[in-house]
């Protein structure tokens, strides 16, 4: 059983217990990280060439025998799709502790162990352990470091497992996770760069917005929860600015300031096991929407939802009405190479129901009124902000798709959620009606619109809280998974 993993790792040991297996993963990662740190220290101070052969990612593998093999049907993940050997490199056990323990728990419940943990042959790139190393000296010094230390290699970093396009060498174990360790580390660095907050602050319920006012409201809500509530343990903003809840911890505030304004600032209302809420202001356009979701996906969120503004495409819509996306016309094009546009991106029932209930609760709307103020239908996501200048072409596409709203992010976020098996949803607020003469202009908003905008973020928060409270298990739907799915969620 162990042999199948020897092509990928050394020093393999068998474990039948999730906590013990995790302990070994932690040990290997820490040893490797310490080797890199010590190696860099020796090189910088004394010019000693480092010995880093063993500074590798931990490896986790399992072999399922054909005899008596069964896949568990009780949930959409956590089980092997077929008998055989499966393996993965893992990283940052400090950050992924609850996730790894949860997945190991399912794996060892559904299949006879053991799992094997060993040292992979994949060296950990130095910048993924020691931050800002590239700023640590002049150009020549940086080049020297690059020649002595492992650096990220894009030949090994891709989405082939998620996209289903990977090719195995004969005898190689099949994938156990959607992302290899280096792909995960790559994203962790990017997340920090783009959002101004470290990955450890991100929560598993994520709201995206393209509207600054929602950020202001989230900050107000978050700080009020910290000052008066007992649900969230701290609130974090860009620059890793941390405000602790004095009733839940004795930790002191850490006032941080971003060195420069991040492109997509993130705010985190934190709970244990990352079960709080993160809000990211992704700005405008599908490019940002793809970037942030490409990287957030490695943190394995339970749900991400877009709460943004859109153009209403029906005369019967009023400014301030809500749109619940039930389907998407993917004219954003940024994911066409990763997920062909003909692939339907299905709505997730649990998210749709929770968003609808959120609107009804926060806006106090009964059934008939709810239907007139909350429209369900197709959202058309374009990559051209000035699509109005091509009205003739696009009006036909909007006709074909029966779209009821147009925006620039929702389909991208949903499609990338589908691609990475992260449950998704979209609730938009109509801010203009471009086909009916109400173009987006400064100062055009009316009182009704203002009121709805004020309620919109609250609906997002309330939806996330209700999804969390009803248990995340049912969110991770089978409709996001393929026939040859890796076992780790």
């Amino acid at each position: 059983m162990e042999e199948a993993h020897r092509s990928r790792a050394d020093d393999l040991r068998a474990y039948d217990n999730p906590a013990s297996a995790f302990g070994r993963i932690e040990e290997i990662y820490q040893e490797s990280a310490s080797m890199l740190c010590a190696g860099l220290d020796g090189f910088m101070k004394k010019g000693i060439a480092p010995h880093l052969e063993g500074a590798c990612y931990p490896y986790l593998g399992i072999t399922a025998e054909s005899e008596g093999f069964t896949s568990s049907t009780s949930r959409a993940y956590g089980t092997l799709a077929a008998p055989g050997a499966f393996g993965a490199t893992l990283t940052r056990p400090d950050l992924f502790k609850s996730y790894y323990l949860e997945q190991l728990g399912h794996l060892l419940l559904n299949h006879p162990g053991p799992v094997f943990v060993g040292r992979s042959r994949q060296q950990i790139p130095l910048p993924f352990v020691v931050e800002a190393v590239e700023n640590g000296g002049n150009e020549a010094r940086v080049r020297q470091i690059q020649s002595h230390f492992p650096m990220p290699d894009l030949r090994r970093i891709d989405d082939s497992i998620a996209n289903g396009t990977y090719e195995l060498e004969p005898g190689d174990p099949q994938p156990l996770t959607l992302f290899g360790a280096e792909r995960v580390d790559f994203s962790l660095v990017r997340l920090s760069h783009y959002t101004g907050t470290s990955p450890e602050y991100f929560q598993r319920f994520v709201l995206f917005t393209n509207y600054q006012r929602y950020v202001d409201e989230f900050i107000e809500y978050g700080l009020d929860e910290i000052q008066n509530g007992d649900t969230y343990k701290c609130f974090v903003g860009p620059g890793n600015d941390v405000t602790h809840n004095p009733r839940l911890t004795e930790k002191r505030e850490v006032r941080g300031h971003p060195s420069k304004a991040p492109q997509m600032p993130a705010y985190h209302l934190m709970r244990d096991k990352h079960l709080g809420i993160t809000l990211v202001n992704i700005g405008i356009g599908p490019s940002n929407a793809k970037t942030i979701t490409d990287h957030l996906a490695v943190l394995r969120p339970h749900c991400w939802i877009m709460v943004g503004h859109c153009g209403g495409l029906r005369k019967s819509q009023d400014l301030g009405d809500y749109v619940l996306a039930h389907a998407y016309a993917r004219s954003d094009h940024v994911l066409d190479e990763d997920l062909p546009p003909w692939v339907p991106v299905p709505p997730i029932a649990e998210v749709q129901v929770a968003l609808t209930q959120g609107v009804a609760d926060i806006c106090h709307l009964e059934e008939a009124e709810l239907k007139s103020r909350l429209r369900t239908g197709t959202v058309f996501t374009t990559d051209d902000r000035d699509w109005e200048l091509r009205r003739q072409d696009l009006a036909q596409q909007m006709h074909y798709s029966r779209a009821i709203a147009v925006d620039m992010e929702s389909a991208t976020i949903a499609a990338n959620g589908y691609r990475f098996r992260v449950p998704y949803g979209t609730l938009l607020c109509v801010s203009d009606k471009p086909l009916h003469g109400e173009l987006k202009m400064p100062g055009m908003a009316n009182r009704f619109y203002q009121e709805r905008v004020a309620q919109h973020l609250k609906i997002g928060i309330s939806t996330m809280e209700s999804l969390r409270d009803q248990g995340v298990e049912s969110l991770h739907s089978r409709k996001l998974r393929s026939f040859d799915e890796p076992a780790f969620r």
Partner: protein
């Protein structure tokens, strides 16, 4: 101040060495065998009657008071690590088949962390094999529920046998282990029962006697 057990308790055969611990593989096998008896997609309930009531080791999304017929809670297992030592072994709670009924708490485990939660539960309750996992029927707040609980294996060397209340009190009063005083384990359990209105008069009397010994009034 704690006092050593008096000669009155010396007749009970105290353990002289640690009990053999099950291997991780044996424990995982026991867990899988127990789970094989779970029917379909039924929610997984676990019944706690001792420390699980006040210190569960798994995520759960619902908890309720419950009763079990034909069983009794009893300080009948030796503990030489958690709440006692080889010098002064303590007593832990077990469920024995007896006439009457026993009150405790039913936890519905969170599905999302079920594997992790059950492994943690087996690590704790199936350390040595003094307990056997059983699926039994309980009277819960929502009617009859099938749940897993841990019943004492009376043939296991860790089984302490039938001890007089006074002997139990003396052993408990003297024992301290890795997780603290054996007396506190009893007190916490009693508090958890009281908070739920689940009376256990025998436990109340036992704590009274333990505390009298501890303050030297016995």
């Amino acid at each position: 101040m704690e006092t050593a057990p008096s000669k009155a308790t010396q007749h009970s055969i105290k353990p002289r060495q640690r009990f053999r611990e099950l291997s991780d593989a044996e424990r995982a096998k026991s867990l899988r065998e127990t789970l094989a008896l779970r029917s379909g997609e039924e929610p997984l309930w676990v019944f706690g009657y001792g420390s699980l009531m006040w210190k569960p080791c798994f995520d759960y999304d619902h908890v309720e008071d419950a009763r079990l017929e034909g069983h009794a809670r009893s300080f009948c297992i030796w503990t030489v690590i958690a709440r006692g030592s080889l010098e002064n072994p303590g007593l832990g709670l077990g469920l024995r088949r007896r006439e009457g009924r026993v009150g405790g708490k039913l936890f519905r485990l969170s599905e999302a962390t079920l594997g992790e939660g059950l492994h943690a539960l087996w690590d704790r309750e199936m350390l040595t094999g003094i307990y056997r996992p059983h699926w039994l029927k309980f009277e819960g707040e929502g009617g009859e529920r099938r749940a897993i609980t841990f019943v004492v294996d009376e043939s296991h060397p860790q089984f302490a046998g039938e001890l007089e209340l006074r002997s139990q009190a003396e052993i408990i009063a003297a024992a301290v282990g890795k997780f603290g005083r054996c007396r506190d384990y009893l007190a916490e359990t009693l508090q958890a029962l009281d908070r739920s209105g689940l009376r256990d008069d025998g436990m109340g009397e036992l704590l009274r006697q333990v505390d009298l010994i501890v303050v030297g009034e016995y």
